[in-house]
């Protein structure tokens, strides 16, 4: 018996795993390289987050959240707070959402429910993809050329509305795509059933298919808001910046502060107090964006479980 097994072993020698064979060493080497690469890939997130949380978090105080920022150079020790920038980011993002969500959902409804693969819908799908690739600064240049420069909206040039419009251009493609894809996930039977019991197309869409696809659509809107709230480039020459509160309703026609523009303006100042304020604003902005992203991830996970 023993003899046979020895014989067989030598016969099947190359079926055993040899750790020092050339191929296996190469395999191990490549595995370690890929793990090294993925470590390098997550390193920046860890470093950036750690720095922002420690540095920005340590500066956090009640005064910081409620005070106005002070113009650079006025006061060497303190740069004030970021209260108006937090409000400003909210106002601009809300304006952008009010513009982009109806357009995005309407366009998505058309693509998913009405278009029958005709040339127009192909062009719109293509245009949506192209629009999502347009650099954010171009959106700013466009709004500057069409709104700010011409003073077309009640004669005001730099304004919260202009900033919101620039951001909405970046949000529209995301909302259209997720609405389109979300509506396509709704089963055809549901639609036919609704039409079969006599509902009109309008009622079918608003009462049956849209509610059924609400999770992916909400995910898309959240992602779009998260992207817009962190954008700076479209705002620097549309919404500009302001050192005052934007409290009255007319103030949406005036320049407005935002967290991202505050970070940009104060980061390139030579004063330490202003730089610190930029770190504090980064802390608030990053927390807000991480919250929105994790919320949208949670929403999209719930969708996957249901379908």
């Amino acid at each position: 018996m023993k003899n046979i097994s020895k014989k067989q072993k030598s016969k099947y020698e190359n079926l055993y795993y040899h750790p020092y064979k050339k191929n296996n060493i190469k395999d191990k080497l490549l595995t370690s390289i890929s793990i090294l690469f993925s470590t390098i890939a997550i390193l920046p997130l860890v470093l950036v987050l750690a720095y922002i949380l420690i540095k920005g978090g340590s500066l956090l105080s009640y005064d910081l959240l409620t005070n106005l920022p002070e113009p650079p150079g006025d006061d060497i020790i303190s740069a004030g707070g970021i209260g108006n920038a937090i409000i400003g980011t909210l106002i601009i993002t809300i304006i952008a959402t009010f513009i982009s969500v109806p357009i995005g959902i309407g366009g998505g409804i058309y693509l998913a429910e009405y278009s029958k693969g005709a040339l127009f819908s192909k062009f719109i799908r293509f245009g949506t993809n192209v629009l999502s690739g347009v650099p954010s600064i171009i959106a700013g240049v466009f709004i500057y050329g069409i709104i700010v420069y011409t003073k077309i909206i009640f004669g005001s040039n730099f304004s919260a509305i202009a900033g919101g419009m620039a951001l909405s251009i970046l949000m529209i493609p995301t909302v259209i795509k997720t609405t389109d894809e979300g509506l396509k996930l709704v089963s055809q039977e549901l639609r036919k059933g609704a039409l079969g019991v006599g509902a009109s197309k309008f009622v079918t869409i608003t009462q049956i298919t849209l509610p059924a696809a609400i999770n992916p659509i909400a995910t898309g809107i959240l992602l779009a808001i998260a992207r817009a709230a962190g954008e700076t480039a479209p705002l620097i020459f549309t919404a500009l910046f302001s050192f005052y509160w934007s409290s009255s309703p007319q103030s949406i026609l005036e320049p407005i502060a935002s967290l991202s523009v505050l970070i940009y303006n104060f980061a390139i100042e030579p004063y330490k107090a202003q730089n610190e304020l930029a770190w504090a604003a980064s802390f608030i902005l990053v927390l807000l964006l991480l919250f929105l992203n994790i919320l949208s991830k949670w929403l999209s996970k719930r969708t996957n479980l249901e379908t």
Binding site: N23, N24, K26, D27, T31, S34, S38, I40, A41, I42, P44, V46, L47, V48, L49, Y51, G104, G106, G107, I109, Y110, L111, E113, F120, S121, I124, F126, G127, N129, V130, G133, V134, P135, S136, I137, G140, V141, F142, Y144, G145, I146, I176, G198, S200, K201, F202, I205, G230, E231, T232, A233, I263, Y264, A267, I268, W279, S282, L285, V286, L289
Partner: protein, 316 residues
């Protein structure tokens, strides 16, 4: 109506209001969809009309003149175009192996699945950090940390034209590195999606005929996913070209042309961010011309990306 009055079972007549609402809703949806086309076309029109003065004045010479001087009112965008192309391509070359390597780690069973999910989540969250915050981090943390390394690079390899100047702080190389951080999530998530779509039977067949794990990945799985990865790389290239804030804050915004990557440079988007607010007259027109060039560059890259994803898709 069509069944007429002779039919015994009359179909329900749709009241006028219902038909109006139905029709109106459809038209509204079409109008909203058309807004995409309108916005896209008007972006082109506004930028083209704004640039027309400068286009007439300089023509294609604008692309090769490197002087940008608001005082003498002479403008050429060569420095910015060179900066845009060099920073974006160099950052792709660095980010491609990192991103594809990471996506392989996420999709293959090299590590325990919990750890893989964590890596995937972290790379996705990296995309959530706004550009301006990365720029702030680059100015105050990354650049001071890098400077001795870059200085060492210069003293040892200064004979290479790309490393021929002494690093003074902001420059093209720090901008390239921050761009790598910004496009890594795009390359990783798109490669991961296309690797996930490769059918498992291909992998099993390769293992079955005795291929090792990496022989399978390199010869079977990567070629099957190549269209998606190429599309992702092109999308990332478009993003890198248009990326503004972090680059503006770290590249130095210099208009004197220099081959060296350690010297301060400029990109089209950085130039726009810096000058548009205070520009007037023919400077605005020249900036619009530069914006038009940026728009066309990103448009070409994006359309190419869409075509490649569509045409090169392997079918199983």
């Amino acid at each position: 109506m069509r069944n007429g009055q002779s039919s015994k079972f009359l179909l329900r007549q749709r009241p006028l209001s219902e038909r109006l609402i139905d029709n109106g809703f459809k038209r509204l949806a079409i109008a909203m969809a058309a807004m995409v086309a309108i916005v896209l076309i008007s972006i082109f029109l506004v930028i083209f009309l704004g640039a027309s003065e400068s286009i007439h004045r300089y023509g294609l010479k604008f692309l090769v003149i490197s002087e940008w001087n608001p005082v003498t009112d002479e403008y050429g965008a060569f420095t910015a175009i060179y900066g845009t192309i060099v920073t974006s391509i160099a950052s792709i070359l660095i980010a491609l192996p990192l991103g594809v390597g990471t996506s392989i780690v996420i999709t293959e069973d090299i590590l325990p699945s919990k750890l893989r999910d964590l890596i995937g989540l972290m790379v996705e969250l990296l995309a959530a950090i706004p550009s301006v915050v990365l720029g702030l981090w680059a100015i105050f943390v990354m650049e001071p940390f890098l400077r001795p390394l870059l200085l060492g690079l210069h003293t040892n390899f200064g004979w290479i034209p790309f490393l021929s100047t002494e690093p003074i702080g902001p420059g093209m190389l720090p901008a390239i590195l921050i761009l790598v951080i910004m496009i890594l999530p795009i390359i990783t998530s798109i490669s991961r999606d296309s690797l996930k779509q490769v059918p498992n039977k291909l992998r099993e067949a390769a293992y079955g005929i005795g291929a090792t794990r990496w022989a399978t990945i390199i010869n079977v799985i990567l070629p099957a996913a190549i269209s998606g990865i190429t599309g992702g790389v092109l999308l990332a290239l478009g993003r890198a070209m248009g990326e503004t804030m972090a680059v503006t804050m770290i590249i130095g915004n210099s208009f004197s042309f220099n081959w060296s990557l350690l010297a301060p440079g400029n990109t089209i988007s950085a130039m726009l961010a810096n000058q548009f607010g205070e520009a007037d007259g023919s400077q605005v027109s020249s900036l619009m011309y530069a914006a038009l060039i940026l728009m066309i560059l990103t448009l070409i890259v994006n359309i190419l990306a869409q075509l490649i994803v569509k045409k090169m898709r392997l079918k199983y």
